[in-house]
Structure formats: structure tokens, C-alpha cells
């Protein structure tokens, strides 16, 4: 759910710095950020939890596993805390528990699931809670090289001063090793298999050797270092992981949320969060939310029932898409229709968000629209159906 663009940017920034190890932690400053990482955003909660925490902590973790769980899943009365901790990730609690204990064990954590199921968000929360730092992120792409996983050189400095630890640019994972914190690897399976395998030695031996240097040519991981990777289950088979690497990860599958109740909670939580960035508060009318969730549920069923690929809607119908639609609707209605949210705008936003390929998506969506949406009764449904139709005719 978290913006991938953002993480990419952070990676780029980290790489550009000559000695990022000292500066990799985001500084608390008065500067307003478009999107603060979890440890900054929930800094207050984290400080409180650290203070309250009396349980044993594994390695150099700043919180005990129980407190990490509370940070991610929110507090209960039985946790006996004197303030409420907000729930930040929604879904099966065992997923979170399993993820936490995996990080405390010898193996890395690989979150796998459809796009938009909240893998990266969970990874960020875990890293923030455990090491107070979630920005040691490496974004996997087809172009990722082994250098980017381990280290690279500042060429100008090498020419001027020769190879030394100063002219070395450590990768975010190397930084995490040195700090004894969580390193994140986004979209691991987008990298080619041989590049992925660079992780194997890093994860089992827990050190990186720099053969170019004669002195100080080893970087050892401090206790507390581990890797949180995410992978997209839709891309499975593009760059399959080697079984040696698979063994070093515990896989945790994050399912697409299908429970309406949880879906509603997620949408409300994330939308409020996103809207806060724009600096305004919006209450989404419950009927509109209901329409959106219902439509997505129907769409999923519709997609599952279609045999041919071209008759399906290409976009992943995850909760993240729904949040996108809501955000779009809110923004549109705030700036162009005097703050009044209605079904018509949402219908248009939904079509706009889901149509990716022309003309297949439009024809599939139009078929769905006539078979399902137009059959619903109610004023909001009617305007919603009309908005969608208008958008489709205009595309």
C-alpha cells in the first residue's frame, strides 16, 4: 500500500550520499514531508512503547516482540497500557505474529502476495518498530545489479584518493548490517535470479567481504540485522528464486482482503491518512463506501468467472485500488464540486482507475456495468452507475 515511488526516491538518495551510514536514519526536523516514514509518523507511539516495554528484547531490538505486535495491530485493554495504540495494519493477526518471530529467528522474512495487499506497509511498520528505521530500502528491478545489493564505489573519489572505506558506497543492506537493523528489499523477484543469489552469503554468513581493500575488508553484521523482502505473487515465474535462497527466507503469504468489515476499516484508515496529507478532513458517506466495497467484491467475482484473459479487467482489484478510487473522488469533489461527494464522481473515478488497456478493459467493464451495477436500486447507485457510464463513453 505504501507508495513505491517514494521508496525508490529514498534509495536513490541513500546511494547518492558519500557516507550514508551516518545519515541513513531520517532526521526529525521541522520540514514538512509529503510522506513521513512510519518511525517518524508514529514517533510518539514508539517512544511511549519503548518506555513501557519491560519484556526481554531479542538482539538490539528497540521493542520486545509483544510490543511490536501491539504497535502494528493496535492495543487491547488486556495489554494494560494507559493509552491507546492505533491499529496500523489490518488482517489476520497470526500473519503479524509469524512475521515478528521470523525476524527474531535466523531467517529472513519474505512477504508475498498480490499487489496492493499491504506487504510493503507491513514491512515498513515492522522495520520501524524493531529498529526505529524503515528507510534502508532496496528496490528490486530488472536492472538491479549485485553492486547495488552489496556496495559500489564513488569513482571520482577512487581516482583521486584510491580505493578506501571512504570511497565505498554501501548499499542499504550493508548499512543495515552495520547498524544491526532491518534492511528492506522491495520486489525481490523483479531482480534476475543471479542477482538475487548475492543475498545468500549475506544472509547466511552475515558478513560482506570487500576484496578490493587490504585493510578493513570485512563488514560484519551486528546482532539485530535481518532482511524483510517483499515479492509479488503475480510475477511468480518471471525470476524464480533459487531454492538455496528460498531456504533462507520464511515465506508469509498475505491474502487479498475479502472480509467486508476489514476492508472497510482499511479504507477508512488509509483514506484519512492520505487526506491528512492534503490537509483536510473528509467523512466518506457510509452508503458510498458500501457501494464501492460491494462493486469491488462483485468485480472480483466477475473477473474470476471470466474464462478468457481479454474478458477480464487487468488491474489487480485490491484494497489499494479502492483507496485510490476514494482518494480520487475526494480530491475531485473537493476541488471541482464544492466538497460534495457523490456517487456520480465515484463512478467516474472507479472507471478511470480501473481502465488500463483499451479497448479490452472498457468492454469488460461495460459488460460488468450493465450486468451488475445498473441492476442495483437506490439513488446513490443510480448516480454511481451513470457516472461510470459517462466515463466509459468518454474514454
Amino acid at each position: 500500500m505504501s507508495g513505491k515511488k517514494k521508496t525508490k526516491k529514498t534509495t536513490a538518495k541513500t546511494k547518492a550520499k558519500t557516507s550514508p551510514s551516518k545519515k541513513s536514519k531520517p532526521k526529525d526536523s521541522d520540514e514538512t514531508l509529503l510522506r513521513a516514514p512510519a518511525e517518524m509518523k508514529y514517533a510518539e507511539e514508539l517512544t511511549y512503547l519503548v518506555k513501557q516495554d519491560e519484556d526481554a528484547k531479542p538482539f538490539s531490538w528497540q521493542l520486545s516482540p509483544r510490543m511490536v505486535r501491539i504497535f502494528v495491530l493496535g492495543s487491547e485493554k488486556s495489554d494494560k497500557l494507559d493509552r491507546e495504540i492505533q491499529q496500523k495494519w489490518y488482517g489476520d493477526y497470526t500473519i503479524v505474529e509469524r512475521a515478528i518471530v521470523t525476524l527474531a529467528s535466523d531467517r529472513g522474512l519474505l512477504l508475498i502476495g498480490d499487489p496492493g495487499t499491504g506487504k510493503s506497509w507491513l514491512a515498513e511498520l515492522l522495520a520501524a518498530a524493531i529498529s526505529g528505521n524503515s528507510v534502508n530500502v532496496l528496490q528490486g528491478t530488472v536492472g538491479t545489479t549485485e553492486d547495488q545489493i552489496k556496495y559500489s564505489w564513488n569513482i571520482a573519489q577512487v581516482i583521486a584518493e584510491g580505493q578506501s572505506r571512504d570511497s565505498l558506497i554501501p548499499s542499504p543492506l550493508m548499512v543495515a548490517m552495520k547498524e544491526g537493523s532491518m534492511g528492506r528489499f522491495e520486489e525481490l523477484t523483479r531482480c534476475t535470479s543471479d542477482v538475487q543469489d548475492a543475498l545468500i552469503s549475506l544472509m547466511s554468513e552475515k558478513y560482506i567481504k570487500i576484496p578490493e581493500l587490504e585493510i578493513g575488508n570485512m563488514v560484519y553484521a551486528k546482532p539485530g540485522f535481518n532482511v524483510i523482502a517483499t515479492a509479488n505473487s503475480r510475477d511468480r515465474g518471471v525470476n524464480d528464486m533459487s531454492s538455496a535462497l528460498k531456504r533462507r527466507f520464511n515465506f508469509i503469504h498475505i491474502p487479498v482482503v475479502t472480509s467486508k468489515k476489514i476492508e472497510r476499516e482499511i479504507i477508512e484508515f488509509r483514506t484519512k491518512d492520505l487526506m491528512a496529507r492534503h490537509g483536510f478532513k473528509v467523512e466518506i458517506p457510509p452508503t458510498l463506501l458500501e457501494i464501492l466495497i460491494q462493486t469491488f467484491n462483485d468485480l472480483r467475482k466477475y473477473n474470476a468467472s471470466q474464462g478468457a484473459e481479454e474478458q477480464r479487467i487487468e488491474s489487480a482489484l485490491s484494497t489499494a485500488e479502492q483507496i485510490g478510487v476514494i482518494e480520487d473522488t475526494v480530491l475531485y469533489s473537493t476541488f471541482f464540486s464544492e466538497g460534495k461527494m457523490d456517487g456520480y464522481t465515484m463512478g467516474r473515478s472507479l472507471v478511470g482507475a480501473l481502465v488500463r488497456r483499451l479497448p479490452e478493459d472498457v468492454s469488460a467493464l461495460s459488460k460488468f456495468w450493465h450486468a451488475v451495477v445498473t441492476k442495483q436500486s437506490g439513488d446513490d447507485w443510480d448516480s454511481f452507475a451513470k457516472g461510470g457510464k459517462d466515463a466509459m463513453t468518454r474514454i
Binding site: 516482540p65 509483544r66 505486535r69 487491547e76 488486556s78 497470526t94 505474529e97 509469524r98 515478528i100 518471530v101 521470523t102 527474531a104 529467528s105 535466523d106 531467517r107 508475498i112 515479492a231 505473487s233 511468480r236 528464486m241 531454492s243 528460498k246 531456504r247 520464511n250 515465506f251 508469509i252 503469504h253
Partner: protein, 898 residues
Amino acid sequence: MTKMEIDYQPLREQIDAIVKEFGKTGEKPHEILNVLLSDVERAMSEPLEIFPVTHHSPASALQLIKRLRSRPVKVIYLETCEDLIELVPMLTECELPVAFQALANRSRTFPASQLPLSVIAPLTEMSAEYQAIAFGILNQDVEIVFIDRSTDHIFQRLWADHQTNAKEAPEDEELTTTIGLQMGDMAPSLEKFVTFLLKNARVRHFSEWWNQYVDQVVLGSDYQTYRQIMFLIGSLIRRLGTNMDRLKDSRWRERYMWTRIKEHMQEHGIKPDEAIFICGAAHTVCDVPEFGVESSEMFDIPQLSDTDWLHGVIPVSFSMIERQFGQPLGTASISERAWKKGLNATGVRPFSLKRKEKETQKHPHTPNTPVDDEALLGFLTKPPAFLAEDERELIQNCMEIVALARNHGYLATTADSIAIFETSKLLANLRQRNHPTFYDFQDAAVTCLEKDYVPKTKDIFKLCQEMIALDVMGSVGYTALPPLVKEVYDVLGRLKDVDLTQKRIQRALMDFRENPDLLQCSNVLWRIKFLLPSSPIVKPIMGELELGKERLQESWDLRFRNHQAELIQLGYEGISLEQVITKRMRTKANRTDIKSGEVLQLVKDSILLLDSPRFSEELGKKAEERLMNDSGIEDAPENFRLIRELVYYYQTTPGGIPLWVKSYIATGYSYYTASLPQTFDDRGTTPEQIAASLSFALTLENFAVMMGCDRSQLIIALRSVNAPTYEIDPRKLGLLMTAEWYVRLRDMNSIREFFNNLFSNPLLLEKIPDYVMGFVLALPFAPGIAELLIEVLSRVYATVPNRTLIPWLMKQLLQVRTNLSSLIDLTREAAQIYPIDFSELETWQAPWETQIKQSDHLSLETEPSTIDSEKSVRLRDILSTHSSVIQMMLQSCNIDED
């Protein structure tokens, strides 16, 4: 018993102090804490020793064994339906788990739609009730008394509820599903309470919570601590976790139980300290006026209803128990593991009926363990401690799951075992437990072993379940079996190399030529197969039971050990298999909605299975009766097939065809001929049905004529078909024409003429296959039409253009395939007409081509004419005598001969 004097005053003061610190006195929490405490106090001070249990709890069973071994009692009162007591002696030969069953097939109180009523109460070795019963059986001087309401009362109350509910919401629910009973059922019924409990304890099911937070803790505690903890939990769940309906029912039962106890004590002069009352923990803290031996209140126990109850012991399996009570898969196996672990850890020896001889020596007196105050305090303040066995078990599980995963295609090694062990520990720690439960272990195994896809069919979650849920199936000993089952076992005892008590599938091989005695075994097996058609208990591998076929060899797969229960259920229906079959067949034949064909099928089955001609005749008469009440001819194909089979069969028997069969045929003949006229233009009737009814009438005609029928019935019927030909379905028209031809109402030439018309009309070409199909359908009763069919088909192939012909061919092939026997007739006929040799082909001329030329002569000489009146006869005479003159006249008029 020397009563335990425990002073609860300090605790009460402590509660008051806490309440004062955190809230106000008199508020809800204060009230609840005080009520819980007084519940425990009251139960502890009751002169009749109350032993609180929960269902299938190893801790309860272990504590009970310790208690019974330490100090003997005269009477044991058990919270079990009182009418089940007669089943206790039957347990001696049984292998657990088994269940007590009460079943009613007949009742004058409950409506027939609600029958049968059935109740089962499963018993496992690790349950306190079984241990108490076993103790009672082993010690003759100990009396076991069941004191709970009878099964009859259960249904009386359910029926009363059902009726009041039905008034409010007229949904037609039925009572007929089997009701499961568990002694000491403790599961809370208030959903909110359960959700809260599970969420806070970080567990998934109530059974997991119980196992983790109560059972394991009280397993090793001393007796008085055990009782107090159980009273406390019982009170908690009763006060906070039970909904009103459940509570109302519980109160009713408690009044019943205490009344029965006091009645029994008075009657037999039992003193309170000579007895023990074993019941569910939730019942021990009840607030009914009848509670306690000192109370003189008695409950007015309602009368039994007028219902015939049958009782028996049936084998059950762990998975059946779990399904019956809606428990998660593996609950029973987990309990069993805990039971074995507990036995090992405490060194307690369970009461076992298998080791009866040794046990009859006086039970050893072990000194009563002293009360450990710390234990009680520990329960309230500390998480449960764990035994070294748990650790061993966890390691064992880790190894087993890795091996299992490897077998299912996973890449799993010892490194994974270690990782699972570590992860389970970490998870348990995160969930604030000292030791991982099975479910923690399951989560850990999934985390460590599950990768991006499942290599074979089963994922790790399922494998874990499979690993833990070893299903154990009980069995009932010979003496406890109903007569029907005993007889089956006796007869099948003749089979060599077959042991029905074995769990493995047994293969029975029978050669009747070598050993004709085995036919009896075969009969029994076929009867069981008939009565339990979908059960795998008996499965024929080779051999069949068909009318008129001699059985030579058969082989069967037998699974009696695992499916004994189904056979025992049959035992409730009668004393022998034959009786049950007769009863079922009679009931079925007497149903008002049964069809004649179904009764004929029953007749056939009765001949095969029962060897009772009188009963078959009774059914046969019923079939005829049903046929008379039939409307339409939908069942004609089935009826025809069956009655023909029966006729063939009876023709081979010395007695010949019985009167009822002939009478059935006569009724059928009249009925089907009378129905014919309406069927040709009725769209709801298919050509196959008409074909079957015509076949019935024409092939079985001789029997019908014997019984006083007449062909004129058929002729009249065919003459009264007055729909014009174009309104009749093409396939039906073929049938009609053939039937008319058969009874000489039509000649072959008119049919040819009809086809000539079809061939000449391009618009009708499409329909020709349908017309042909009608004639194919008619082949069974009029084989003579085959010649014409060959002719028509040949003309079709010769004249119709390929463009139209090829789609027909496919259609025709598919249609002919459904009538294979007709196809054979047709091929045979074709073989006679067409040349067999190439050499003949040159000179060969289709017979009909020559025939057509001479058709006039032939038809005049051989074929009967359409109109058989006197006038036509005269005309024919004139034509035949002056044929040459007429031919010349025609030639002179330039009219062609044909």
C-alpha cells in the same frame, strides 16, 4: 469423607479491598467476584462429594482415577441419561471409542415426520465418565447410577420448544438429526464471552483455551486444588458465558439430577460420605432449590412419552466425535496425546476393562496427597508450568512434520526442524505462553516450510492437521451386538482367511462350485449391499446378482471393522437382514407416490435377495395396483423392461409364469392401448415412451390374450388416432405407421409412397432422418420393417446431396447408438440384402427396384389393403382378373407402369 474446612473469609476480605481500591463496592465486578467465591464455597461444603469434570478432559480422568484409587466409594452418581445404564455391561468387550446410542423408530407421542429420534453419547478412554464406569465394572461392590434425564425427556423438551418456536416462526425445522451428548459439556454459549476469552488468550478455539489454561494446569495439581479450580471455572462460565436458553435447560437438569440422587440415597440407605457425584463443572455450582442432600426439595419428574426406545453400543471414531460436536479437527487426538503424556508423567494407571483379571485384586490405597496451598495461588497468578514431556513432544512433532513435508514434495531438512522448534518457542513467547501449543507449532511449521507454492496437493497446514489427527475407530464386542449383526458375523465366519475384526480391508474369495455353502455368505453380503448401498462396508469386486444368472465365483472387499456402526444401526430395525429388507420394501411399496416401475424393481430385488415367492407376489400385486393408478405413459420404458425381464426369468422356473405377472401384463396391455390415441399429438410424450408402450402391447400380447384381452383394443386405439400426419412428430409417425402396418391397417406401399413424397419435396428433406428414426424405434416390436428401412436408407444415401447428407449421418449415428439392439437387427437385414462379394456387385440390383416395378402385382396378391371392406374385395377381384386389359389401357393412355 472428612469434609475440607476451608476458610474463605480472608479471600473475601481481599476482594473487598481490591474493589475498594479500583471501584465501588456493590458494583457489578464486586458482585461477580463475590458470587464466584460463594459458588466455590458452597460446592466445597456440600456433604455429598461433588467431583467436577469436563468432557473428554484428560485432567479430569486422571484426577478421578487418583481419587477413586485413594478412597473407595459405594455409589457413583454420573451425569448421564438414566436409560443408558442398561448398556454399561456391554462395554466389557468393546474397543474405545464407542458411543451409547438410544434410538426410537416408533412413537405414539412424536409425529412420524420427526422419527427416527436418535441420541449418541460417545465414550473415550480419556474421559472421566468412562474411567468411573470401568471402575464400577471392575469392582462389584461399587454401584454406578446414571441420574440425568432420560433420552425421552430430551426429545420431549425439544419438541415442546419446537412447537412454541414454530408458532412464532413457522419454519419447518426437524428434530431428526442425531443429538450428541457429552457429559460435562462446558463450552460457553455466549458468543461475546467466547470472542473475548479467545482474543485475550490468543487462542483460536475454546478447546485450545481449555487445554492450555485449565487442563494442563490441573493435571498435576492435588485433589482439593483441582476441585476448587474446576468449581471456579464452572462458576465463571455459567455466570458469564452461558446464554439464557442453555441456563434454563441446565437448571431443569440439575433439579432432575439432585432429585434422582436423593431418591436413590433414601431408597438404598446411602450416606453422603459413601458416594461421589460426578458431573460437569458448570452444574456443580448450580442455584436450584433441590441442590444438596440437605435440601428436602424434590422435583416432580415428568412422565415418559409413549415411545419405543432401543439402546445399543455403536463404534465411533475421533473424527466422528469432532464432527458431531463441532470441534476443530484433531481435538480428540490432542486430548489423547495429553492423556498419555499425563499418564506417563504422573505414573497413574488407568482403569482398563481389557486388563480385568489383574484389576479385580483390591485396588491399592495410595495416600491422599496433601493440599498444596501454593498450587491454588499459582493458578491464579502464574502461567502454567510445563512438563518435560511437552518438550519431547514438540521435538518429535518438528521431526515428524519435516519428514511428512519431504514426502509431499517440500524441500525440508533438519535445518527446518530446528527453525520450526525455534519459531514455535518464539511464537509461544509472543503469545505469552510458557510452552507452545499444537497450534503454535502449526503456525511455526507453516512459516518455516511453506514457500511460494504448494508442490503437491497438500499444504503444510493440512499436513500438520493430518499428523495430529490420527483417527481412532472403536469397535463393539460380539456379545454387545444386536442379533442381526451377530447372525451376519456367524454366517461370514465360514469365510476362510477373513478376519472381520481386522482394520485392514479384507478380501473374501468365494468359489461356489467348490463350496456351495458359501452361497449363504454371498446372500448375506448382497443383502448388506442392498441395505447400505452407499457404504463401503461391503464392495463387490467380481460377481453380479442378476435374474437367471448362476453365481459361480465372487470376490468382495469387506470393511467391517471400520464401518461396524452402520451395520449396528440396521440391528435396530429388525432381528435379521431378511426382516429388515422385507420391512423396508413393504414400507416403500406402500408409499402413495411410488411408481409401478419402482415396485417392479422391488419385486426383482425381492426375488434376488429374499427367496420368498409370496412376498414377491404381494409386491407384484401392488405394482399392478400402482399401474392402474398411473396417468400417462412416462414409465412405459421402465415397466416394459422390468416386466419382460421377469417374464424371461419366470419362463425358466419350474412353476412357470405366475398369475400375477400375466395379470399385470393384461392390465398393462389395456392401459397402454387405451392411452395410445392421445399420445401421438401430445408434445409431452416422447417417441421412446410410445415405442415402449407399443412394444409392451405387441410383444407381450399372447399373455394378455390369455387373460382375456383382444387385439381389437389395439386396432381401435390406432384407428382413433385422428391427428393429421403433419401434426404428428416425425419420429412418432414412423411408430404409428409401423404399428398400423403390423396390425394390417396399412400396407408397405403406402409407406413407400410416403417416402417418395418426402424425397420429392426439397423442403422436407431435412426431416427424413427423424422419420427414419421413428422406424428404428419400432424395430423391437416389428422386426419386419427392417427391410423397408434398409431401402429407405439406401435411397437416402443414393439421392440426397452430400451437403445435406453429411450432417445427417452424424446425427443418425448418435441416434442409432442409443438403440444398439435395433442396430444389430438392421445390420443383419442389410447383410441379407446387399451383395457379400465384389463379383456380385456388378449384376446386383436392389430388390426394391425390381419390387417397385412389380409392386402392383405383389401388393394385390400379398399385401393386405388399407380398406378391408367388402367393396374393396370386389374391386380387387375385378382388377386381378382383368389385369392385362387394364395394363393395355394404361399403355394406350401413355401412362407409365409404375
